[in-house]
């Protein structure tokens, strides 16, 4: 059984408990052990690209170093945590000045220089479990369901740091949908932004973006949308003028594996 250091992040402990619960249950069923460190800090939600911002990057470095000390890869489920942690890891590996400043702050027993491998949960399904193996464990295939994968912005970009999939023609979520027995729907807005945190101060802008995404999925005949991001889920549900059911990908994963009652049958 492979063990990962698991970083849930702030929202999976509060408004997105299902994303966390079904990620854990499904991992257990697939023979993946998720070990959550005793103390972790919020990643901050957005990566600050500025080279003269160091303190805002330290919480991500702490969790990366915690995984390193346990000699394990690090895994995240939330798109935002994944984005912040991978960008931090990329920059600390490629920017000596940043690495020096970070290590001066943290004074770790051994400096951290980007040694940890970071996986998004979907990457774990693809690269560690394998979608073929996942398909064999499915007991409730999502037969006949037309499912639109919503990548948004955080899962894929900036692609040189996230290195997860082709940023303009991704397949990882569509391959996941096929593995659990559904039919993926390709639509133009699948890797465009939902409006993100702008919902706090400009509902109209958030609504414009979210409506464009949901309409685009609907126009291509989708029955539902799946996402890995709590803020995308919120925007697509609350701020869109078009309606489609929106689920976390872990909801459908747990359903397919027989770990959760089928809710959209």
């Amino acid at each position: 059984m492979e063990t990962f250091t698991y970083y849930p992040g702030c929202t999976l402990r509060t408004k997105a408990k299902d994303l966390d619960t079904y990620a854990r249950k499904s991992a257990e069923c697939l023979g993946i052990n998720l070990e959550e460190p005793a103390d972790w800090q919020c990643c901050g939600g957005a990566y600050t690209t500025a080279k003269d911002e160091i303190a805002t990057k330290l919480s991500a470095v702490r969790i990366l170093n915690s995984a390193k000390e346990n000699n394990r890869p690090l895994i995240t489920v939330c798109s935002a945590c994944h984005n912040v942690i991978k960008q931090t890891n990329y920059d600390i590996s490629n920017d000596e000045e940043m690495a020096a400043k970070v290590n001066n702050y943290l004074k770790l027993p051994e400096p951290y220089n980007g040694e940890t491998t970071v996986y998004h949960y979907l990457e774990m399904l693809r690269d560690v479990v394998g979608f073929d193996n996942l398909a064999q464990k499915v007991v409730n295939p999502l037969k006949g369901k037309k499912i639109a994968a919503y990548y948004g912005c955080l899962l894929l970009r900036p692609s040189k740091a996230l290195a997860m999939d082709d940023p303009e023609n991704p397949t990882i979520m569509e391959d996941f949908i096929k593995a659990i027995g559904g039919t993926p729907v390709i639509y133009a807005q699948r890797n465009e932004c939902c409006g993100g945190y702008i919902t706090l101060e400009d509902k109209a802008q958030a609504s414009k973006r979210s409506s464009a995404v949901v309409r685009s999925a609907k126009d291509q005949g989708a029955d539902m949308i799946i996402t890995a991001c709590p803020l995308c889920l919120y925007n697509l549900k609350k701020n869109s003028d078009a309606e489609l059911p929106v689920y976390y990908f872990t909801d459908l994963l747990a359903e397919a594996l027989g770990l959760k009652e089928v809710q959209n049958g």
């Binding site: 901050g44 939600g45 706090l200 991001c229």
Partner: protein, 127 residues
């Protein structure tokens, strides 16, 4: 033109604005285009010109969603979002110039709003 300010933005962003060939693809793909007074390609050339205070005063700096579309799609790898970020930081780092007051947060909440939205706004708007 404030030379120190220009140097600060260039250093903070790490961007070489001279690589820009003004194709406008960053602005064409920007999800906040309609809401912005100055668009991503304009940020790049206004920083090149040293006209940074104009950008710092514009609401455009709070419209960037940090979706990295302009970063990934720029054919010259200029990374305009990093310029927007550096200009925004130059503005919010000034004393008393936070874009959001934490006391406003309770009235923005609803039952479903994820914490992620609030912490992200704090990162973006407050120093």
């Amino acid at each position: 033109m404030d030379k120190n300010l220009k140097e600060q933005v260039l250093r903070s962003s790490g961007v070489n604005v001279l690589k820009c060939m003004r194709c406008g693809k960053c602005s064409g793909t920007c999800p906040s285009y309609d809401e912005m007074e100055y668009h991503p390609h304009q940020f790049v050339y206004m920083v090149e010109r040293g006209d940074i205070e104009t950008l710092m005063k514009s609401k455009s700096i709070y419209k960037c969603l940090t979706c990295f579309a302009c970063v990934d799609r720029c054919p010259r790898n200029v990374e305009p979002a990093k310029v927007v970020e550096a200009v925004r930081l130059a503005a919010v780092r000034q004393q008393g110039n936070n874009h959001m007051n934490p006391n406003q947060i309770p009235e923005m909440l609803d039952d479903d709003l994820p914490q992620q939205a609030i912490v992200t706004a704090f990162r973006k708007y407050i120093k």
